[in-house]
């Protein structure tokens, strides 16, 4: 295992190379572009024997990946915010056709106003698309989850595409230490994709057929059950990866939760910043913990409830807004997980919209603000730092 300094996007491209992907189709968009630029170099130089399809739009990028996966190829794409919005129709098609592939979504806010910066409005656009979805905390996790995504998605018990949410700029453009896994380890962990069904002229089948109302509901039920059932395989494969690399991933990851009265709940790169604040507050004797939510779909209800047992108040860090709705999307999910149960009170902070800087000091401030909101009993979200 080699430890090197890599930009997040380059780490992802390296993983795609090592995963021996057959077809890459992507369209450049900030902050994703470096992934596809690096991959075009890797393919052009012969380091990876793959078809690199320079498509004319994101809709086509994913369409190409869908066709490739249907033929039994290992496919990869990456995009960001508005690119994902253009791709959206096919996002639902890929998962509903049960075609494994990996997409790295370099999270970027949706327009308008035009913004290239990071938040999770794009992630929430495809929340219900039926993909397995993970939020990563750093470049190492982004790199690792490319392999995990193929291994899990291609498992015949799963057959579901895998979306890696990687915060734009914070993770895509930062240079971080990354431990590269030896190729022999990857090859053993990730053998050639053996599709259950594939398009083959000598054995014709139909994929993506028209389905009448008398069977559409059954197809959707089967898809939902498959996504829920993928949970076991996800946990099992993550565990295996831990044994191989020493990096163990869990659907949720807790810090100082054993005796915590207050806890932050965070998704994506903000978890590592929150950790700084929690360390600081612990130093001051405050009983505060942190829960990083890694697996977004299928949602880890049981693990979340178990991890937060005994926590009195949960400070949810949301990176997107549900306009006209009940607050931030993560808080909405967490409240549902504890509905009619003895769970923590939820204070919902909307933070870091369009990449606005959120420092450990901000977390300390949020921690200090929380009791007042708990006392008021308000269920409304707090748009943290918004200029009044």
């Amino acid at each position: 295992m080699k430890r090197v300094a890599l930009e997040g996007t380059v780490a992802v491209a390296e993983a795609v190379r090592q995963a021996n992907v057959d077809v890459i189709a992507a369209y450049p968009i900030t902050p994703q572009s470096h992934i596809v630029e690096r991959l075009s170099e890797i393919v052009a130089s012969g380091e990876l024997d793959a078809e690199f399809v320079p498509v004319e739009s994101e809709h086509t990028a994913l369409s190409v990946c869908i066709g490739a996966s249907a033929c039994g190829a290992r496919a990869f794409t990456a995009t960001s915010g508005p690119g994902l919005a253009l791709m959206a129709e096919m996002v639902f098609v890929a998962s509903s056709m049960r075609l494994p592939m990996v997409m790295v979504l370099c999270n970027r806010s949706l327009s308008a106003p035009l913004s290239i910066w990071n938040d999770h409005s794009d992630a929430m656009l495809v929340r219900d698309s039926g993909w397995i979805q993970v939020f990563v905390n750093n470049a190492q996790e982004a790199y690792d989850h490319v392999f995990l995504g193929y291994r899990i998605g291609e498992d015949h018990r799963v057959l579901i595409p895998y979306m890696i949410h990687m915060d734009g700029f914070f993770l895509t453009h930062a240079i971080e230490p990354v431990e590269l896994v030896d190729q022999e380890v990857v090859d053993k962990f990730l053998p050639h994709y053996q599709p259950l069904y594939r398009l083959d002229p000598s054995n014709p089948i139909t994929m993506g057929a028209f389905v009448m109302p008398d069977q559409y509901a059954e197809v959707k039920k089967a898809q939902d059950e498959a996504l829920k059932a993928s949970y076991q395989v996800i946990v099992e494969v993550w565990e295996k990866w831990g044994e191989l690399t020493g990096r163990f991933y869990r659907p949720v990851e807790g810090f100082y939760l054993e005796d915590a009265e207050y806890a932050f709940l965070s998704v994506g790169s903000y978890g590592d910043v929150a950790q700084e604040a929690v360390d600081f507050l612990r130093g001051k004797g405050r009983k505060v913990g942190l829960l990083k939510l890694r697996l977004w779909r299928p949602f880890p209800f049981e693990e979340l409830r178990k991890a937060l047992k005994g926590v009195k108040a949960l400070l949810v860090i949301d990176r997107a807004i549900c306009p006209g709705g009940p607050g931030g999307p993560v808080a909405l999910e967490v409240r549902s997980a504890f509905y009619n149960m003895d769970g923590p009170r939820v204070v919902d902070f909307i933070v870091g919209i369009a990449g606005r800087d959120t420092t450990p000091e901000d977390y300390v401030k949020m921690f200090e603000m929380a009791p007042e909101f708990l006392e008021k009993g308000s269920e409304e979200y707090i748009f943290y730092g918004v200029k009044e």
């Binding site: 056709m97 075609l99 069904y197 014709p204 089948i205 139909t206 069977q215 059954e218 197809v219």
Partner: protein, 91 residues
């Protein structure tokens, strides 16, 4: 079809080729074409224009519609140069 969700193959893939033949698209029809042999000059325009390929030539050279598949679109009636095809409401 009456498959339980447990019997649905991943992605609702259909492994039997040519199975669309089993689908009775004639069910969708609200009007059926009626051919008038007196007016028909056997030109075959209806056969050419039928978008579903449901019209066949008979041994005598006339044309007949397979009502198992005909969706009743009326293109044959519209195109017939002899006005030999009438669309009649299904009851």
């Amino acid at each position: 079809m009456k498959l339980s969700w447990r019997e649905i193959k991943p992605g609702a893939v259909i492994t039997e080729s040519g199975s669309s033949r089993n689908l009775r698209t004639g069910d969708w029809r609200s009007e059926r074409p009626i051919m008038d042999k007196e007016k028909c000059n056997k030109c075959g325009m209806c056969y050419i224009f039928c978008p579903e390929g449901t019209i066949k030539e008979t041994e005598e050279g006339y044309f007949e519609v397979d009502l198992y598949y005909c969706k009743g679109c009326g293109i044959c009636a519209h195109e017939c140069p002899q006005g030999a095809i009438k669309m009649v409401l299904e009851v």
